[in-house]
């Protein structure tokens, strides 16, 4: 087994990439027409594959198509029953409960505080550590139309086109209008964006953008923003309880969401949180491995928020559309599925097939680009096969050094260079092998432009909510999304908390939900939320006993 660098079989193919590089530096395949884009999506995008989805049989979005993996969780029974928990013993009594300690949750907490809620009246509950999230992993950048050549209206158009006009217009409008203000806020928090000597931002293109508006911080953009936000929330003293995911939302007898039941993963005890307003910021579903795809997502991305929200009556939307990032690692095996930032293509690296040929415009919207990679590998047989039988296409990263000078990759794509270098591949000299990987939950809990879910007392921001991106998100709009809607949800929750009156706490809604499941004939061996994916080895699992210790 090769554990460092490329095997000879792949090295031979790299020679073909090198041979065509000088020519490819001069010319690129053209962008697809609207018709071509539609066709390739229909034929090759995983969303269009038959037998991968089913209509929901119960609940507020009954009848809507969702992937089987999502339906299995929504059509599942609660982990707890009302008899197990004593709602008269309140462990945390707060104004605003935020479920999720990633970007959206932290932004919501900060803006709830700015809106006048005292730090000690806020609580962030998170399943892993504070900050362990997709937010911290985002590499390429964040969009905001702040250059004179650009405008929120142009940003709006790019988003609607990229999302195939399925987006919720008022959410897109909020996103593009708040964008520059969010970057300014970050600037005041000390986020170290890449800047020119005069203070202007270094801004680049992303897939589907018509203006260069991608702000970045090397290829650690998400980490840099998350670090600063978390640091600021720590300065303010916002309480956080880690390793304590919400396993159920609480309601009151007036039909309002009134907090949550948390589960301490380390001691197995439950905690009752009463809250006048609750913000869902639980992120997405990458760890469900839709259609068996590997994922770029963090360990806790298991769609818990969708399950919780659905049980209290929140609607879902656009859950039939899954984002596969075109460039997940396809080699080495140990990194399969991990993200290769779109910034690599943004800086000039071109996708190339096994013959060394360019076959697609490098910066189509993500769904189109992914479909083109899949067609190249499985439709045309032009993919590169790895020793473990995985297929991928080359991403000709050395072009970046040709275009911008030697040393550019190590400087501006430090995370990528480091990741491959750890496995004996120098992406400044050798191309890297990529294949689409499950990246983002395009849809989610429906919200309005204030981050309200339509259920009294429940707000949502970030990847858990849907409508902003329609059926396909553009690069750089998820970091913006969690900031814009994390903020709006935080502000709305704070305002709601100031006037809300809570009634008697109740878990009746999960009793009702279980009844609905039973009436639909759904077997009760399926439980949700999932909390953590199962990655233990089969050999170990085959011998596991359920002995309580």
């Amino acid at each position: 087994m090769i554990t460092s660098g490329y095997p000879d079989s792949m090295r031979e193919l790299i020679a073909l990439v090198e041979a065509t590089r000088p020519e490819r530096l001069k010319t690129s395949p053209p962008r697809m027409s609207a018709k071509e884009r539609e066709e390739i999506l229909r034929e090759w995008h995983p969303d269009y594959k038959a037998g991968t989805k089913r209509p929901l049989s119960i609940g507020p979005s009954k009848g809507e198509l969702v992937p089987h993996e999502v339906a299995d969780l929504l059509e599942a029974y609660p982990l707890i029953s009302p008899e197990e928990v004593d709602l008269s013993q309140i462990d945390y009594d707060v104004d605003v409960l935020i479920i999720g300690g990633g970007g959206a949750g932290t932004v919501a907490a900060l803006w709830a505080y700015y809106e006048g809620i005292k730090p000690e009246r806020i609580l962030i509950a998170t399943k892993l550590r504070w900050g362990d999230s997709n937010s911290i992993m985002a590499q390429g950048g964040i969009q905001a139309a702040d250059r004179p050549e650009d405008s929120p209206a142009i940003h709006y158009l790019d988003i609607m086109g990229g999302g195939h006009y399925t987006n919720k217009p008022e959410l897109v409008r909020a996103l593009v209008t708040d964008g520059p203000m969010i970057i300014k806020w970050h600037e005041s928090l000390g986020v170290m964006y890449d800047k020119n000597p005069d203070g202007s931002f270094v801004e680049k293109h992303g897939g589907g953008t018509s203006r260069m508006r991608m702000h970045s911080a090397k290829d650690y953009t998400g980490m840099e923003i998350m670090r600063a936000l978390r640091d600021e929330a720590r300065n303010i003293g916002i309480p956080v309880v880690e390793f304590a995911p919400a396993v159920e939302l609480l309601m009151d007898d007036r039909g309002q969401v009134a907090g949550a039941i948390l589960f301490n993963l380390e001691t197995s005890q439950y905690l009752v949180v009463r809250a006048k307003a609750t913000v869902l910021a639980t992120g997405g579903f990458g760890r469900l491995h839709i259609q068996g795809f590997p994922t770029t997502n963090h360990y806790g991305a298991t769609a818990d928020g969708l399950v919780l929200a659905y049980r209290v009556g929140a609607k879902l939307r656009d859950m039939d559309a899954v984002q596969y990032h075109p460039t997940g690692v396809a080699y080495p095996e140990a990194l399969v599925g991990q993200l290769v930032t779109e910034k690599v293509r943004g800086m000039g690296a071109m996708p190339v097939n096994r013959h060394g040929e360019a076959f697609v415009y490098p910066l189509e919207p993500r769904d189109v680009e992914s479909a083109a990679f899949i067609r190249e590998c499985y439709g045309r047989g032009n993919g590169v096969e790895t020793p473990t039988g995985m297929r991928g296409v080359w991403l000709d990263s050395p072009m970046i050094e040709e275009l911008h000078g030697p040393g550019t990759i190590k400087r501006e794509l430090a995370a990528m260079w480091r990741m491959f270098n750890r496995f004996g591949i120098d992406m400044a000299k050798e191309p890297i092998l990529v294949f689409p990987t499950l990246h983002y939950q395009n849809g989610g809990v429906e919200i309005d432009e204030h981050g309200w879910t339509g259920v009294p007392g429940l707000f949502a921001g970030g990847e858990v909510e849907g409508g902003v991106h329609g059926k396909n998100r553009l690069m750089g709009n998820s970091l913006l999304d969690y900031n814009v809607f994390g903020r709006r949800a935080g502000i709305s929750a704070a305002r709601h908390a100031k006037v809300a009156k809570l009634g008697k706490l109740s878990l009746e809604h999960i009793v009702a939900y279980s009844k609905m499941l039973a009436e639909a004939g759904i077997n009760n061996d399926r439980k949700a939320p999932l909390l953590l994916p199962e990655y233990r080895g089969e050999r170990a699992l085959a011998r596991s006993l359920k002995i309580r210790i």
């Binding site: 892993l128 943004g346 953590l532 233990r536 080895g537």
Partner: protein
């Protein structure tokens, strides 16, 4: 009977080949296949992570790992999700670093040459042993940025420490009890807030938005149907620039 034994023998042999790597998780031996990261190898062995796994891609610092290899006296350091297992690795994870940070009000601080030392006076205890650098799974020159902090060079601290994933291994190894990654976080924010030049075009755009300059155009766009929008979309000018 003999046949069955032979088959079993063969199975055992191929299993031993397949599970060719011996690792010791907190001292306990397990056999795992080659080519797995430390994280995946531990899962293969039957461990289900609660702590010690986060982003699984080298960005969050949740899986800081200390290991030693058989026959070596030196400790080595890695993030479990970015390091392949090697035969004879003794492994332990350090999923939490009890390194206290100092709270501050960024608006009241100024990027003076003694601000880092004032908030983290233990910086002055650095004896330049470089143990922090050796512990860094990101291969950041940690000691160099601590030295820059000592002499008040905030910009250099910010730049050298930029790739820090805040796993805390540096601070757990430091004989002087310095909180390297907290010092670095403070320096980066001071740099971003006070020393980096401000973007004028951004301030201008925010003012334009607040003045409602784009409202009318956005009103029109939000009311448009798919057909009209797609016409505009397909006809839009693409700015020349990197990647296009």
């Amino acid at each position: 009977m003999a046949d069955r034994e032979a088959v079993e023998q063969e199975e055992r042999t191929s299993l031993a080949e397949e599970l060719g790597v011996r690792i010791y998780i907190m001292g306990k031996e397990y056999r795992v296949p080659a080519g797995l990261t430390i994280m995946k190898a531990m899962e293969y062995a039957g461990y289900k992570f609660i702590r010690g796994a986060g982003c699984r891609a080298g960005f969050c610092g949740a899986c800081g790992t200390v290991y030693r290899k058989e026959g070596e006296y030196k400790l080595r350091f890695a993030v479990a999700c970015q390091k392949l297992v090697e035969d004879g690795m003794f492994l332990v994870q350090l999923p939490f670093a009890p390194a206290p940070r100092v709270s501050y009000d960024l608006e009241k601080l100024r990027p003076t040459e003694n601000v880092l030392l004032k908030l983290y006076p233990e910086l002055a205890r650095c004896v330049a042993c470089n143990t922090c650098t050796k512990a860094c799974p990101q291969e950041i020159p940690v000691m160099d940025y601590i030295q820059a902090a000592l002499r008040g060079d905030i910009k250099r601290v910010a730049e050298l420490s930029f790739d820090c994933i805040q796993c805390g291994l540096c601070s757990m190894r430091c004989p002087a009890d310095i909180k390297h990654y907290h010092v670095a976080q403070l320096a980066r924010r001071l740099y971003g807030r006070y020393l980096a030049p401000k973007a004028e075009h951004l301030a201008q755009r925010v003012a334009e938005i607040e003045a409602g300059r784009f409202d009318e155009e956005l009103d029109r766009l939000t009311r448009m149907g798919k057909e009209e929008l797609s016409k505009l979309y397909e006809a839009r000018q693409i700015e020349e620039g990197v990647g296009v």
